[in-house]
């Protein structure tokens, strides 16, 4: 068991280190950064704020991680968020119960995932193209549901999901932490994780070994749709309304980025949900950190781009072969010393 823990520590080290460095740098510029206070049965503070604001991207990153592990990509999650937010708002304003609303919204997300999954697994369309369809049409569908307006609601139950708190933490934080934990346990405590990785690395060999590759692929996109539904509910509940135009706008890119920063390769295979969640928090810390440290927010994107480029260059095959070469040179030196003895 200690071996497994150690493996986790090694795997997550770069992300934890990056997060720590970013948080430390922000605290230099903004001294009160680590301060937490407890008011009205809830923790307040910048760190809590990061956890809270990062909820949608964190949720999307969970599903995106699994999809990318299968060698896929899901461009539609931002649009699905908008659809699900619209469905939730439409259902609750139509007077349906909260339970019914959540059920319908989550089913909608699952349906969107099923659509993507069928295009990828059954029709064998490249994932980037297959999910583009819903990415383009999705926002139109969401607007169709809200009829172009921002559909506002004041149902306390639904609003609670966006701004309520439980166990001293904001609800969105509880939701993404809880859902991330459930999915991580689901894939690692069952054989799902290994089978998904096998499909991502070698779909043919996996099929020949009896893995139900089609079912797994569809399931991955369904999970991604489900995550988008949860993120959509939170985003809508947060602003007490469904904004079909802006809900989840460009969040698919942030989610993909979170996964890549988390160290999961876009070529599929090995994945870590914990690392992707850390990746999402890194991105949110950059956003919040720039805001707090008094940097003009317009630098936000440039810093983000610089960080991506840095991480990508480190991960690129060329750079890695250079690292391997360097470590070999270093490893060869002590050997020479031994030979000299």
């Amino acid at each position: 068991m200690t071996g497994t823990l150690k493996a986790y520590a090694v795997r997550l080290f770069p992300q934890v280190a990056a997060l720590a460095i970013i948080l430390f740098m922000v605290s230099l510029a903004f001294p009160g950064f680590f301060k937490l206070s407890f008011q009205n049965d809830r923790l307040y503070g910048s760190l809590i704020d990061i956890l809270n604001r990062g909820a949608p991207v964190a949720l999307l990153a969970i599903g995106m991680t699994v999809v990318i592990a299968t060698k896929g990509i899901d461009l539609s999650v931002g649009a699905v968020m908008a659809i699900c937010g619209a469905v939730a708002a439409a259902s609750i304003t139509a007077g349906h119960s909260l339970a019914f609303t959540l059920l319908v919204t989550i089913s909608t997300g699952i349906l969107c995932g099923l659509w993507n999954g069928v295009l990828v697994a059954v029709l064998d369309i490249q994932p980037i193209i297959a999910t583009l369809v819903l990415m383009v049409a999705g926002r139109g569908i969401a607007q169709l549901i809200t009829e172009g307006a921002i559909l506002t609601f004041n149902h306390p139950g639904l609003i609670f999901i966006g701004s309520g708190s439980l166990f001293g933490l904001p609800m969105p934080v509880i939701i993404w932490l809880g859902f991330g934990l459930i999915v991580a346990l689901l894939v690692r405590r069952t054989a799902l994780g290994m089978l998904i990785e096998a499909v991502g690395v070698n779909r043919r060999a996996s099929r020949l070994s009896g893995v139900s590759t089609g079912v797994l692929l569809i399931a991955a996109y369904i999970l991604s749709g489900l995550c988008a539904a949860l993120a959509g509910i939170i985003a809508a509940a947060d602003i007490r309304g469904a904004d079909a135009n802006n809900a989840g706008l460009w969040l698919e890119l942030d989610a993909i980025l979170a996964v890549v920063v988390g160290g999961t390769s876009l070529l599929g295979g090995r994945f870590s949900i914990a690392a992707s969640l850390l990746g999402a928090m890194i991105i949110q810390s950059i956003n919040t950190g720039i805001l707090l440290s008094g940097f003009p927010p317009e630098f936000n994107l440039i810093i983000k781009a610089a960080i991506i480029v840095l991480i990508l260059v480190i991960q690129s095959p060329r750079a890695q072969s250079a690292f391997i070469w360097m470590s070999r040179v270093r490893a060869a030196e002590p050997k020479k010393e031994q030979e000299a003895k």
């Binding site: 383009v136 890549v260 927010p297 440039i302 781009a305 991506i308 480029v309």
Partner: protein
């Protein structure tokens, strides 16, 4: 018929049928005025989409163009507001920057062997970020040269106006067609889309071609930015968000295979016109809502993906039985 013309034929047929339906309902839509506006309103999108066509033909993708257009607009506005530089010089400067920016992305894609999707995503953040840094406000451009450029137009029979930017888009398409089909570079772009490994075996300079493709896309995004600033007489860093998506949709609806290697620059023009037509129809109708544009374009996209999938299956089967 040669199957490679099938998607293009389908695109043209869809456009003609759609236009006929429009005219049947609103005879007013059959006028050079509508056509002139169609060209003017979609000029910046069309120019950027030509660049996207080359990128997609080579099997890549460029997510940065919307951000580059916005950057160019802000760059021009800031430059013209705060210096006495002539707009033409500013245009040249903008084009140099955006072309170098594209070439840079191409070089990273080739030399670091990174997926175009992620590299151009980073490029999108960078370009948008640069625009923000220049200015977060919408800056109006009031240079007299802009006014005189905007007053240039050719009156079409029937009273429609072919504006400078509308005409420029047509010229860009013509040049694009020429580059795609009448230069060695064009053949190399198709070769790359047909398969990088085979293209390399056949002697195609992969690195140079990749850099040139993204440089071309950067150049055309810059040109599109100039056109957009003429069109709106302003520079705004939040403008043209998501234009890359519209451009990709136009390219695919225009019959180009998203996996690369097959398609026509001319098809992209029709793809642009179909998108413009849907919007014009919705404007004419008045009761229809704008979101139908997105849904219809999504459906068209889906139909073309299925059509291309079917064509590939068909040609595979034919080859196996041959």
């Amino acid at each position: 018929m040669n199957p490679r013309y099938l998607p293009l034929t389908a695109t043209v047929a869809i456009f003609l049928i759609a236009y006929a339906v429009c005219i049947a309902q609103y005879p007013n839509m059959l006028s050079t005025r509508v056509i002139g506006n169609l060209l003017t309103d979609n000029a910046f999108l069309g120019i950027a989409a030509v660049g996207m066509t080359f990128v997609i033909l080579s099997g890549g993708i460029d997510l940065s163009i919307g951000a580059v257009i916005a950057f160019t607009g802000v760059f021009l506005a800031v430059l013209l507001q705060s210096t006495a530089i002539h707009p033409l010089a500013a245009f040249a400067l903008a084009l140099i920057i955006t072309t170098a920016f594209g070439a840079m992305m191409g070089a990273i894609i080739h030399h670091l062997e990174m997926p175009p999707f992620i590299v151009t995503l980073a490029g999108m953040f960078l370009a948008r970020g640069m625009a923000f840094v220049l200015s977060i406000d919408s800056i109006p451009i009031k240079h007299p040269f802009y006014t005189s450029l905007k007053s240039f137009y050719y009156v079409l029979p029937g009273g429609g106006r072919l504006t400078l930017i509308g005409g420029l888009m047509l010229v860009v398409f013509l040049v694009g067609i020429l580059i795609a089909h009448r230069t060695r570079f064009g053949a190399d772009v198709y070769a790359l889309g047909g398969g990088t490994a085979t293209a390399r075996l056949m002697g195609v300079p992969i690195g140079r071609t990749t850099v040139m493709i993204y440089a071309l896309s950067g150049f055309l995004a810059g040109l599109s930015g100039i056109v957009f600033s003429l069109y709106t007489s302003a520079g705004y860093s939040l403008a043209t968000v998501g234009v890359e998506l519209d451009a990709i949709a136009a390219v695919v609806i225009g019959g180009t295979l998203l996996t690369g290697g097959s398609g026509f620059v001319a098809g992209t023009l029709i793809g642009i016109l179909i998108q413009g037509l849907i919007q014009t129809y919705i404007t004419f109708d008045g009761s229809l809502s704008s979101w139908w544009t997105k849904i219809l374009i999504g459906l068209l996209l889906f139909a073309f993906i299925l059509l291309q999938k079917a064509l590939i299956l068909l040609s595979d089967r034919r080859r196996r039985h041959a």
